[in-house]
């Protein structure tokens, strides 16, 4: 798909019909620059390509690995500040609209209020995520939020989790996405959203008198998925006995109800009355009697396990490099993980400097998930998003609603799942709607000249919906990276659908 530069210029001239050939923007951009932007962000916004070209790939990597060093746009901060429910803790979130009187069922009216509240809370969580993914300059952080939320997936459709998924992301995922894996694991394990989703809040050790056999009142759901999905991986060498041992270790973990004091801000609660205090043998380690600390010890063992290092490394390499990641790369990342005690930033830094990452055959090799496709299309237009509804609608249509993955394995990021006939129809329809300015995502610049200033500031913007996206600008934003075939198809079609064809092109389906 690499095309000789002379064809680029030629075809762009055909395509654009009489653009001044002295315009520097028609020069194709270094594929390495596009590759790094495509991997460390949800695709270029206007000016991004030029910015990375001028600052250099290495500085861009280091900048993105330190998101705290990147100032966020004031507009984004104020958008997020307007979301009232975003920073409430799980206790505050679930108390709303639910009767507090013990033993009393909520009335019809109370139930209605609770449903209304849940809707509002979930809606704000979706808005926050989409605003940050599209508008934030800390793009690698946003990419990692996508990655880790899926890894530690919680489904909003399950009971109380409708209140909690946003708080879960804010409290248990977001702060740790580039930190130590053990911290991330611990935060998810303690969060009420996870405790509820995988039923561990009901996991208790005390055996009922009529129980049969020697298995007490355990619930092994979380213990199993914690090993299979979150840490060791399905082939990580654990047995059914380890599942039971871990369920016993985690017995008594849950969240606070009214009247239960907790010493943390998200309402985790350890109930000693439900905990099995006996010594356990877990993955060959003896874990001595120790209440809640037993769970911490088990998480330490899991986080440090070579199987975990490998499982996480495989998934990171699959997300960032190719659907079938090279074994050599997975090995190197595994070593780095173990050498740095699970430092995610260090693992990524190694990845971004690896031979495999820079192998040209992996450029544009990943088929975008619906989420990546939608966010990248919005970003490419340069729109500063205020209304996220059209994006969440598309995600719904494409079977990838935010916070709506039912199963604990999260959404896949491989082509075999997302590439199908109906998805193509819907992606291309979205491409057309957004290219025509029909989605009312927000304010749009009225003067195309303002887009051409190099840099990321898009202001001043004027409210002016339904403005079609300029094809020349769009092509420039994307580094003029369309193949000859695509350019030919564009050149032979009506000018008003050029932008739709660019956003619906094979090149743009990939990252």
């Amino acid at each position: 798909m690499l095309v000789k530069p002379k064809y680029w210029v030629l075809l762009l001239l055909i395509l654009l019909g009489g653009i001044d050939p002295s315009n520097a923007a028609s020069t194709p951009v270094d594929p390495k620059v596009l590759h790094i932007i495509n991997r460390l962000s949800f695709g270029p916004r206007p000016g991004d390509v030029q910015r990375v070209e001028s600052m250099g790939v290495e500085r861009y990597i280091q900048e993105q690995l330190s998101p705290e060093s990147i100032p966020e746009p004031q507009s984004l901060t104020s958008q997020l500040n307007q979301l009232n429910t975003l920073h409430l803790n799980p206790v505050e979130l679930s108390e709303h609209g639910i009767t507090n009187l013990p033993g009393q069922k909520p009335t019809q009216l109370e139930r209605k209020a609770a449903n209304q509240w849940a809707k509002e809370v979930l809606n704000e969580a979706v808005q926050a995520r989409l605003l940050e993914a599209t508008n934030s300059k800390r793009q690698l952080q946003e990419v990692m939020v996508d990655f880790w939320y899926n890894h530690f997936n919680v489904d909003a459709a399950k009971g109380r989790d409708r209140f909690w998924v946003g708080a879960y992301e804010q409290q248990a995922i977001r702060p740790y996405v580039l930190g130590r894996f053990r911290d991330l694991l611990g935060a998810t394990a303690h969060h009420p959203a996870m405790q509820y989703y995988l039923d561990n809040f009901q996991n208790r050790a005390d055996s009922r008198p009529d129980a049969q056999g020697n298995i007490p009142g355990l619930n092994e759901n979380y213990a199993r998925e914690l090993m299979e999905l979150h840490t060791l991986g399905v082939d990580g060498g654990y047995t059914q006995q380890d599942v039971i041992a871990l369920a016993r270790i985690l017995s008594g973990w849950g969240f606070s109800r009214s009247g239960q004091q907790t010493d943390n801000n998200f309402g985790f609660y350890f109930n000693p009355k439900r905990h099995d205090f006996s010594d356990k043998v877990f993955l060959g380690h003896t874990i001595k009697s120790g209440g809640e600390a037993q769970g911490e010890e088990a998480l330490d063992i899991l986080a440090r396990s070579p199987a975990t290092a490998r499982h996480i490394s495989y998934q990171i390499a699959q997300y960032f490099v190719s659907d079938v990641p090279p074994t050599t790369l997975v090995n190197n990342l595994t070593h780095r993980y173990l050498a740095t005690d699970g430092n995610i930033r260090e693992v990524l830094n190694t990845l971004f400097h690896s031979r495999e990452f820079w192998d040209a055959k992996n450029f544009n090799a990943k088929f975008k998930t619906p989420y990546q496709y939608a966010i990248s299309a919005v970003r490419a237009t340069g729109v500063e998003v205020e209304n996220t509804k059209p994006i969440s609608n598309l995600l719904q249509q494409l079977g990838m609603p935010l916070y709506g993955c039912q199963t604990p394995d999260g959404y896949k990021n491989t082509a075999d799942v997302w590439l199908n006939p109906d998805a193509m129809n819907r992606r291309l329809s979205f491409a057309s709607a957004i290219a025509n300015g029909n989605l009312a995502l927000s304010s749009m610049p009225t003067n195309m000249q303002q887009w051409q200033t190099i840099g990321t500031e898009q202001k001043p913007l004027q409210k002016s919906p339904n403005i079609p996206i300029d094809a020349w600008q769009l092509s420039n934003t994307l580094g003029n990276s369309l193949s000859m075939k695509t350019q030919k198809a564009i050149a032979s079609s009506a000018p008003q659908i050029h932008s739709a064809l660019i956003l619906g092109s094979p090149e743009f389906m990939h990252r």
């Binding site: 009142g217 299979e228 199908n420 129809n425 329809s429 075939k485």
Partner: protein
């Protein structure tokens, strides 16, 4: 691991291929509809349905001992099972299926499952969909391989309901999918001729992306046509309020209208009942009700085509015999498979019953497997779809039949 190794960038520009995507390609090829065409629909219950509470071994004391809260009472008792054969009873939430049982159109195979012992949902589903238990290197699903051997080279012979590609259908052969839910056949911008023509040109090649696009366009045209007339039908075609049932109805309508669609697939989730599974009523009962009305819609919608259709309902594994302390069950082993159809020797629970006393259980906790799920699939493939041995071996590689089940007339 990658199942379809075909996402090659770019692709060769083929001018000839562009013309192939004409708006009438699908319709033009529907020349000779064959009403004798055999059809197969698979419904996958994701999350591991508790088969012991679907087809209940009500004559076993061990069943009631292991499940003090969630067992379904014996026939005749309040909330009791519907007796099937004096030994097994059907969950009362599935009462809508009783007419099929009475017409000998519904059969079950109990203590059935995958020989691989995994308790991972995801591995177990993969093995059942690839039909190669224990082998993670299989590149495709068995329904895709099946499509390969029955292909008449019509544009679409298989339809999957849902937004993602299920493993069972992934592979070399193209498969159409229709989105689930109410808005699935609303008009889209891509239905506009000018845009469609431009994308036809852009995706006119032979590469995988182009082919997927072409399938999408053709399927959409056919589906929009068929479903459009469905919507115009009077009460007869009124969509069910339950989305699974209405999805099932749409699939049925397509198969009825378009005799070239031979294979269908739907999945229904929500069976992972670790907590509050319920008994006669509750979580599982609600899901079964939904499934029962979906199957009824499907059969009703298939109309005359049902006579030549087999419907298989399967799940990745069963659940523990003993209930846990949260009124649920955990991941188990053996399960029940359901088979419906015009050709079925129904009204019978097939399979050797291994028993539920502790000594008879798999690893002391689960219903043991006495029938490989591929024995059931193979019966359908050879006796319903009439695959010869070579084709059967292609669809079910490295499988040796352990028993012949006389499921099909």
């Amino acid at each position: 691991m990658k199942r379809r190794n075909f996402l090659i960038q770019g692709g060769i520009f083929s001018a000839a291929a562009i013309t192939a995507v004409s708006s009438n390609a699908w319709i033009a090829r529907s020349a000779t509809p064959n009403i004798d065409q055999k059809r197969l629909i698979v419904i996958f219950l994701r999350g591991a349905v508790d088969g012991l509470n679907v087809v209940v071994p009500y004559s076993e004391t061990a069943y009631y001992q292991a499940r003090p809260q969630i067992a379904i009472p014996q026939p005749g008792k309040e909330g009791g099972v519907i007796d099937l054969d004096g030994r097994f009873g059907l969950h009362p939430a599935l009462d809508s299926l009783i007419p099929f049982w009475q017409q000998n159109s519904l059969a079950f195979v109990h203590a059935c499952g995958s020989p691989d012992p995994t308790r991972s949902h995801f591995d177990a589903q993969e093995y059942m969909e690839s039909a190669t238990p224990g082998d993670k290197h299989t590149q495709d699903g068995w329904m895709n391989r099946l499509l390969g051997v029955i292909s008449q080279k019509t544009p679409i012979q298989a339809v999957s309901v849902g937004e993602t590609t299920p493993w069972i259908f992934s592979g070399r052969m193209p498969v159409a999918n229709i989105a689930s839910g109410r808005n699935a056949n609303r008009p889209l911008p891509i239905d506009r001729p000018q845009l469609a023509a431009a994308f036809d040109q852009l995706y006119g090649g032979n590469d995988a992306l182009s082919q997927t696009y072409q399938q999408g366009r053709m399927a959409r045209q056919a589906i929009m046509n068929d479903l459009d007339s469905e919507m115009k039908m009077a009460n007869n075609g009124a969509p069910s309020p339950d989305s699974f049932a209405s999805d099932a109805q749409r699939l049925a309508q397509l198969m009825l209208k378009d005799p070239r669609i031979e294979l269908g697939f739907m999945a229904l989730g929500g069976w992972d009942t670790h907590v509050n599974q319920g008994g006669t009523q509750g979580q599982l009962a609600r899901n079964l009700k939904k499934l029962g009305s979906g199957l009824t819609s499907l059969v009703g919608g298939l109309g005359s085509v049902y006579q030549n259709t087999t419907i298989v309902v399967m799940s990745e594994f069963g659940r523990t015999v003993k209930q846990n302390d949260n009124g649920g069950t955990d991941h188990g082993h053996g399960n029940v498979m359901w088979v419906l159809g015009g050709n079925i020797r129904g009204g019978k629970v097939y399979g050797e019953w291994p028993g539920l006393s502790t000594a008879q259980l798999y690893q002391g906790r689960d219903l043991a497997i006495t029938t490989d799920f591929r024995d059931v699939i193979s019966a359908v493939l050879s006796n319903h779809l009439h695959l010869n041995e070579a084709k059967l071996n292609h669809v079910l590689p490295s499988y040796t039949s352990t028993q012949k089940i006389a499921l099909i007339k």
